[in-house]
Symmetry: C2
Subunit: 192 residues, 2 copies
């Protein structure tokens, strides 16, 4: 998606440790007009898939998921992290390893919000090591629901996540895939 690539070139900042900072428009401050274009593109890609619900993970996936959901006219469910009141039997749970924060945490979704008849589209802002996406996919599988695919804003193509998740049979549509980047600010995108 050219609009998103251009924005990453313009406002993204490459930091030490393969960190791409896009917090001026994607995941701290959020450009809602850009999210609208992202949502339209996800809808174009998954329009034929009879999506009944969008699943994301707190916190930075929620904004894009909610704006995208307007085009599908479906509700959004967000998986919660580090829930203290983790009532056994009432929630689906999975483990996720954070690339940014370097730790493992539990994610949960209340069982009542993921049903076997649901056709789930996962939306998230980033795909790096794939752990969040695999964790979310596991929740969908545990619920017996159908995973139609995942819509990702920015994929770090030089990390293992994209291949890992696609090899697991999940359809992943990333609107910008970073082939390589360096701290001098050079960012190269992958185009299929």
């Amino acid at each position: 998606m050219r609009l998103l690539e251009e924005r990453i070139i313009k406002d993204g900042k490459v930091k030490a440790g393969n960190v791409l900072k896009v917090d001026s428009f994607l995941n701290h401050q959020m450009d809602i007009a850009l999210f609208g274009e992202i949502g339209k593109e996800f809808h174009r890609l998954f329009a034929a898939d009879h999506v009944t619900k969008i699943l994301t993970i707190e916190a930075s996936g929620i904004g894009i998921a909610c704006i995208t959901a307007q085009y599908f006219q479906v509700p959004v469910v967000f998986a919660k992290k580090n829930q203290t009141k983790n009532i056994a039997g009432e929630v689906y749970t999975s483990k996720v390893e954070s690339f940014t924060h370097g730790r493992v945490y539990d994610i949960i979704v209340a069982k009542e919000f993921l049903r076997p008849e649901d056709r789930i589209l996962i939306i998230d802002d980033f795909l790096a090591n794939g752990s969040a996406l695999l964790g979310l996919s596991q929740l969908v599988k545990d619920a017996g629901a159908t995973l139609v695919g995942a819509g990702i804003a920015v994929e770090k193509g030089f990390q293992a996540g994209g291949k890992l998740v696609r090899d697991a049979g999940v359809r992943v549509e990333s609107l910008a895939i970073i082939e390589s980047m360096d701290e001098d600010g050079k960012i190269v995108f992958r185009h299929s």
Copy 2:
């Protein structure tokens, strides 16, 4: 806002300890069509206030804030909780006491996203003890920006927060104010 009150009556659940569960439509699963009506109402209430930015707090405020922002055509900034990499000098920070989780945590916003010339509208899903709202207000004050007010979906009118924040001079517009509720499911709303 009648639509929201009716939805709380229909789908809200009163739990022990003055907890109102609205997680089927507001803060775990999110009814995006309802959020659209909430956003329109906030825009009607604050349309004349030249809002330049919406400020909210992760995680459950983000959805309503993003949908609302479309009507104002402004970006959203969300305050982050428990940030590990809290670089002194680059962020505004404040303390918030969680009613639901019973603990105190830091919230932060990068200084570059709150400017003295900004006219900030705070959006959140809940107002109970007022701690989150006061913490967010403090960030706005620290930035030297103008706080035009706060738009809240559900206010627990029987807790101290609403009075506390209004007495501090903040214009608070809550779309549903709960006067009283009990575990038999009886919910009474306040109407001015």
